[in-house]
Amino acid sequence: MDFSFTEEQTLLRNSVQRFIQDNYDFDSRQKIVHSDSGWNPDHWKAFAELGLLAAPFDEQYGGFSGGPVETMIVMEEFGRGLVVEPYLQTVILCGGLINMAGSEKQKSDLLPKIAGGELVLACAYAEPQGRYNLADLLTRAEKSGDGYVLNGQKAVVVGAPWADKLIVSARTSGDQRNKDGISLFIVDKAADGVSTRDYPTVDGQRASEIKFENVKLDAAALLGAEGAALPVLEAAVDAAIAGLCAEAVGCMRVLTDATVEYCKTRKQFGQPIGNFQVLQHRMVDMFMECEQSLSMTYMVNLKLDEDEAERVKAASSAKAQIGKSGRFVGQQAVQLHGGMGMTDELNVGHYFKRLTMIDSQFGNVDYHLRRFAAAS
């Protein structure tokens, strides 16, 4: 049993912290969010230079052969900085899918580009009718000659406006909610028949609704075995959940620290409001939720390689925990900051908004309680 970090991991954390400190204070973050494109491609290049985009990949693909602990470190610090650039989507989720399911050619083509910051990806897995069920798919890819023809619609594809390519889940056989018959495709966003509706999200990111109308794909677009993608998709989403948990921990820690600091300095009735026991206990509860969430984040990141049932339990329990904790910490941070907590100007509300959306990403508390129960 060991929860300590290696020297390299500590250096990694330091370098991410330094980047955030120098380039990603809250005002700079808000400028990025309100810019036309909504992200900063120069920061993306900087992430590549710092090796963050290469962290989880094997050396032969330009990576640093790290693993979930490395991406966890990056995500926690990104959570603290409210970073909007699509690290989770591109590196952890899509990079993970390519790493797990890709052919040798796909891996050696795509992973070095991800690591080098030349390729941004988004994963189009959700559909308007599907809610959190990854297998509830109406999007279909029909065989046509050597390739496929893709038709369907995808919902709230986070990071898609910035992406060059999409990884799209589609049905190659079977009925709407069958677990079999699901395949993954790498689709050029600029391909004929792909139309998008881009919009900002409430937590400062960008997303798209995407329609595929008779999009022609060649055989090489298939990622992994035809019809057998669901287990791969679930494993990659669980890895993304592990990263998301770390991001949530970063958000919660900032909120808890900021709230404690505020209550020590804000005076009402002739004393700091932190003197009031009812508020002290509230902040203790916030602190405990942070600690519990951090524990679960370590747990899930260390269990991603275990067998499927263990991995599912780890991911779902951690996700349920951070959903519950994130809501509490977010709401209380706003409440204890009073009117200031409600403002767009103060960072508190923005962390709260991000935590709210983290709960619904990849399935909310209810969904993961059930998934945990089913796997137990």
Binding site: A126, P128, Q129, R131, Y132, N133, D136, Q153, A155, V156, V158, Q176, R177, S195, R197, Y199, P200, T201, V202, D203, A207, E209, K211, K267, Q268, F269, G270, I273, F276, V278, L279, R327, Q331, V334, Q335, G338, G339, G341, M342, T343, D344, E345, G349, H350, F352, K353, T356, M357, S360, Q361, N364, D366, R370
Partner: protein
């Protein structure tokens, strides 16, 4: 004790229902208070229709245009307004300052201001909170110094709702800094066009512009615009806070919101089954409805006690706490029901778009609404302060 409506009450309900159906301004249908695109004119269009009918301020004394309705009729009226999703008028003139004016104002103040409030000629805002005086309102420092027939006011007010539309502000100012904080406060009515007043928008985290900070720099206010005695303003303000609390339960509106939540849940599919049929989710809605039902009957008891001539007591803090908790919980569940579609931020964008819409229409704006409703446990005396009031004034702790 009787929970049934009489035939007369049912006839009254139908009268209200028919009136709304015939007269509610078409351009307001489907709009909610807080909707960023609502203009002053939008609010006033509904205000004027109600004023014409004599229903804009049913709780006022008869001599100023109120109605001699029973508490049941008031209940029915509020229910029908909520049921039809009518835009709620802002309370600052009608509910908050008017009772202070008719209780403590001079005859000429009543004669001038009350009809203007009734007819919507003046839009009022509330100058209470300050950057340094929130929960501890009595520590306010905006200073008014006497200069002949005027006060010269300097300071800043904040969280001032809809001040961007306001013609008038009722304002608590310090006229004597050398006594106990509650003793040296006066209640002034300030014309917002007076030189020296700046209104600076505060954007809230949902992206909306409801509140403002107001800066007052050497603002000359006629002494004639003081309500009641100098240095007695705190007493008047407390009366006003009591009025602010009655009606704060928002039961009828919450019922309407639960109906909206159910509609969204019915329209949201989960594994091919509507979310409304999901046992976990429907249990959450049921728990919420039961909380609301308990609140409704507590509200009715308070209302009945008020009609029996008792002023709003410290028990009304229950209505503030429980009412806002229910309101917040509803929006929490709206976001839950919306799932991924809570995330799109479509302010200023058309829902339909050029080629296709984004998610179910009921999901649009659910998250901003949830964020916005966090204010309810902060404003009007935070819920922590309300619990202190109950602890002290009811339980004697």
């Amino acid at each position: 004790m009787d929970l049934q409506f009489t035939p007369e009450e049912i006839a009254f309900r139908d009268e209200v229902r028919d009136f709304i159906a015939a007269k509610y301004p078409a351009q307001l249908k489907g709009r909610r208070r807080g909707d960023a695109d609502l203009t002053k004119q939008d609010y006033l269009s509904w205000h004027k229709v109600l004023a014409e009918k004599g229903w804009v301020a049913p709780s006022w004394p008869l001599e100023y245009g109120g109605q001699d309705w029973t508490s049941t009729q008031k209940y029915i009226f509020n229910n029908e307004m909520a049921r039809a999703e009518c835009l709620q008028l802002m309370p600052f003139g009608l509910v908050m300052v008017a009772p202070v004016i008719w209780t403590f104002g001079r005859q000429d103040q009543k004669d001038y201001f009350l009809p203007r409030i009734y007819n919507g000629e003046d839009w009022w805002c509330q100058g209470y909170s300050e950057p340094g005086a929130g929960s501890d309102l009595a520590s306010l420092t905006t200073r008014a110094v006497r200069d002949g027939d005027h006060y010269i006011v300097n300071g800043s007010k904040t969280w001032t709702t809809m001040a961007q539309f306001a013609d008038m502000m009722f304002c608590l100012v310090r006229t004597d800094p050398d006594v106990k904080p509650q003793k040296g406060i006066s209640f002034l009515l300030i014309d917002m066009k007076t030189p020296g007043i700046t209104v600076q928008p505060i954007i809230t985290m949902d992206g909306g512009h409801e509140v403002n900070q107001i800066f007052l720099e050497d603002v000359r206010v006629p002494v004639a615009n003081r309500v009641g005695e100098e240095n007695e303003g705190w007493t008047y303000a407390k009366v006003l806070l009591g009025h602010e609390r009655s009606g704060i339960a928002g039961v009828a509106r919450s019922k309407q919101q639960i109906a909206r939540l159910k509609a969204l849940a019915a329209d949201t599919s989960q594994n091919g089954v509507p979310l409304s049929e999901d046992p976990d989710f429907s249990r959450k809605i049921a728990a919420l409805e039961i909380d609301l039902l308990a609140l409704e009957y507590t509200d009715l008891r308070v209302l009945a006690s008020e009609s029996a001539g008792n002023g709003p007591g410290p028990e009304s803090s229950i209505l503030k706490i429980k009412g806002t908790e229910v309101q917040q919980r509803i929006t929490e569940l709206l976001v839950e029901a919306a799932g991924y579609y809570g995330n799109p931020y479509l302010r200023g964008m058309s829902y339909e778009g050029d080629n296709f819409p984004i998610g179910p229409e009921e999901a649009v704006g659910t998250a901003p609404e949830y964020f916005n409703m966090r204010k309810t446990s902060i404003y009007g005396g935070s819920n922590e302060i309300q619990r202190n009031i109950i602890a002290k004034a009811v339980l004697g702790l």
